[in-house]
Amino acid sequence: MSMEKILDKARLNDWIAALAKGGDWEVHAPALEDGVWTYKPVGDAVRMDHPNTKQPPKGFSFPQREVFFSFEQIKGEAPRLTQVMPDPKRRAVFGVRPCDGRGAVRMDRVFADNVNDPYYQARRKNVAYVGLACNTPPAATCFCKSVGGSPVSTDGLDILLTDLGDRYHVAAVTETGKAMMAVAGSPLADAAAADRKQVKQVHGEAVAQPQRAVNNPEAAPAKLKASFNSPLWEELARACIGCGICTFLCPTCHCFDLNDEMTGTVPIKGNRVRTWDNCQFPDFTMHSSGHNPRENTAARLRQRVCHKFQYFHENFGMLQCTGCGRCVSECPVGIDIVAVVNKVAEHVA
């Protein structure tokens, strides 16, 4: 599987052009718009000096809104349903950080488990992630290493780029990645022994960078399980304002809502639409009767933390959190999942 190449940074755009032309790929990369790093379709200049994007790339396979089917029904008659499947265009996403690559692995598990989700799969099979190793000092909120990841992890990626100053080291991870590297007109050159040596050193240094940490993550699932009825949750959630930042920006949060949106009334016309939903919103679990199994912020914070560090582990054998730190840096009141897990673990015998 090993395939390593070198790309002169000045020729990055040539590669992207080759992918668009020779491989029929629509290329996306991080762009700074109104102060927000966002994945955008690439024009002629690609910057890859972003810390991480504000939103993870999960929207490429799981957009915030998508139509499942449209319906039309004359009252008293049978409805006509028309399935709406995603556009099958291939999309290559550049600059994906390793934490978000690992996020994709977790999303893939959810949407393939039990029953395949046809809409997710239709998109996912046409998305390739071209990762970018984190070899600059980590952000204050990064903690990928303590949740099983690494700033140079290739999990979930098709290609991993490593910034070597004036050039990128380009390593194939999947067959799709290999094909992208070998696309007609590709400016990639073979990696020399010196390049291989340098990338090893760069990766070693990146991994050695100190980060904040979830203490003893292997014990977290059991500790959380034992903490379910702890009064600590009330205290930890005391400042929580119940917004949806932590989950909407999370690379592994997958909860959604299904609604019918009307476009006409006679005949009844509309779309069945999937939108992201959020376990931090009070109506998320509320029964029609008004009964709510998770009726306060403490129960909802516990759900988010236990989902990441206990339930997902019980179901899939891995922590769901990838340590990207978005929920920590973006929380309006400073709720910090690392501190929460550590505190709960401390308080449980």
Binding site: E33, V36, Q64, I241, D257, P332, D336
Partner: protein, 343 residues
């Protein structure tokens, strides 16, 4: 300059004497900075309290949360609740009292003046510190002092202060039980509504294009609503049908509830949400700027609310949060009002 010990002593004393059942304030965050809101209930917790230029949060929100919590638990409050309040926090409390959300005697206000300073904007600090990660911030006269791994760094306060603080003319909490720090009411580091005035130099077409782009980006996390002390409605126009459903809510009521705004985060729905919210805050928004601070996708929401605020000031001489007993903008009218609809 306020000595943090004075804040701690005041809170400790009030709790020890049982004059308040809790004090809402700030403590150091898990990473040092920024500070985070905290509710302390025992005198010995007073030493956790901090006061620094990362005490952004409008703590009036937590008064609202406290009241909702009590109502839900069907508890009565007993002693008043204490709150440490900046100028903007105190103005929010005044509006809430003006709207009879709670009574003056239910709240003990420990006012803290921002004096000639204010809160930082983290993005401005990041731009100036060039990669260094601050772990603490402190007031230092006209400067802010940041602790970083490379030692203390000082930055001129005006260069890294949040826009809302630069434009603030009321950094002193006029409504208070006890106040700490100097009263510098009327100070102006920047002209009021400066950001709005700058924005309005753009043409109508440019402004429309600008807002389309901003609203298109909204992810409807509702942080702007959640963080706003004025957004205390039990039932919000944007929520799906189940919110505010009680066992006694009839099927009829639930079934007939109109979905004014769809769940989809698309431009049309997002615009309706933000416009509805802006109108609902007219004459109520005290420009604490929290909505703009917390927005994860940088939508400059202050511009919307400032616009409403300036209209109210210019047309009616109205300033939200000025007086508990005074009439509120939208719930009062004057006999000489030229509008005929009101009669």
């Amino acid at each position: 300059m306020i000595n943090i010990q004075d804040i701690r002593d005041t809170a400790r004393d009030l709790l020890a004497k049982g004059e308040v059942r809790a004090v809402i304030g700030w403590r150091a965050g898990s990473r040092g900075m920024p500070a985070e809101p905290v509710v302390i209930t025992a005198p010995e917790q007073a030493d956790e309290l901090v006061w620094d230029p990362t005490c952004y949060h409008n703590l009036a929100l937590h008064l609202v949360e406290d009241r909702k919590f009590l109502a839900h638990a069907r508890k009565t409050a007993g002693a008043p609740i204490g709150i440490i309040a900046k100028g903007c926090d105190a103005r929010a409390i005044v509006v809430l009292m003006q709207e009879n959300y709670f009574k003056r005697e239910d709240v003990y206000i420990i006012g803290v003046s921002c004096e000639g300073s204010g809160m930082i904007a983290e993005w401005k600090v990041a731009r100036q510190l060039d990669g260094a990660v601050p772990t603490a911030a402190a007031f230092a006269g006209d400067e802010f002092a940041f602790a970083t791994a490379a030692g203390e760094k000082r930055l001129p306060a005006r260069e890294v202060m949040a826009d809302r603080c630069l434009e603030c003319r009321n950094p002193f909490p006029k409504e208070h039980n006890v106040a700490l720090g100097e009263d510098k009411t009327g100070r102006a580091l920047e002209a009021p509504f400066a950001a709005l005035a700058r924005f309005e130099t753009r043409s109508e077409g440019e402004r429309w294009e600008f807002w389309q782009r901003q609203f298109d980006r909204c992810i409807r996390c509702f942080a702007c609503r959640s963080v706003c002390p004025m957004c205390y409605c039990e039932e919000c126009v944007v929520d799906s049908i189940n919110i505010a459903v009680a066992p006694e809510t009839t099927a009829e009521e639930k079934a007939n509830r109109i979905r004014w705004i769809e769940r989809s985060a698309v431009k049309s729905e997002n615009i309706t949400y933000h416009m509805t919210r802006a109108i609902h805050l007219a004459g109520r928004c005290v420009d604490c700027g929290e909505c703009e601070r917390v927005c994860p996708v940088n939508i400059p929401l202050r511009l919307l609310n400032n616009k409403m605020e300036r209209e109210a000031r210019e047309r009616f001489g109205y300033e939200p949060g000025a007086s508990i007993g005074g009439p509120s903008l939208v719930a009062s009218f004057r006999d000489d009002d030229p509008g005929a609809f009101i009669r």
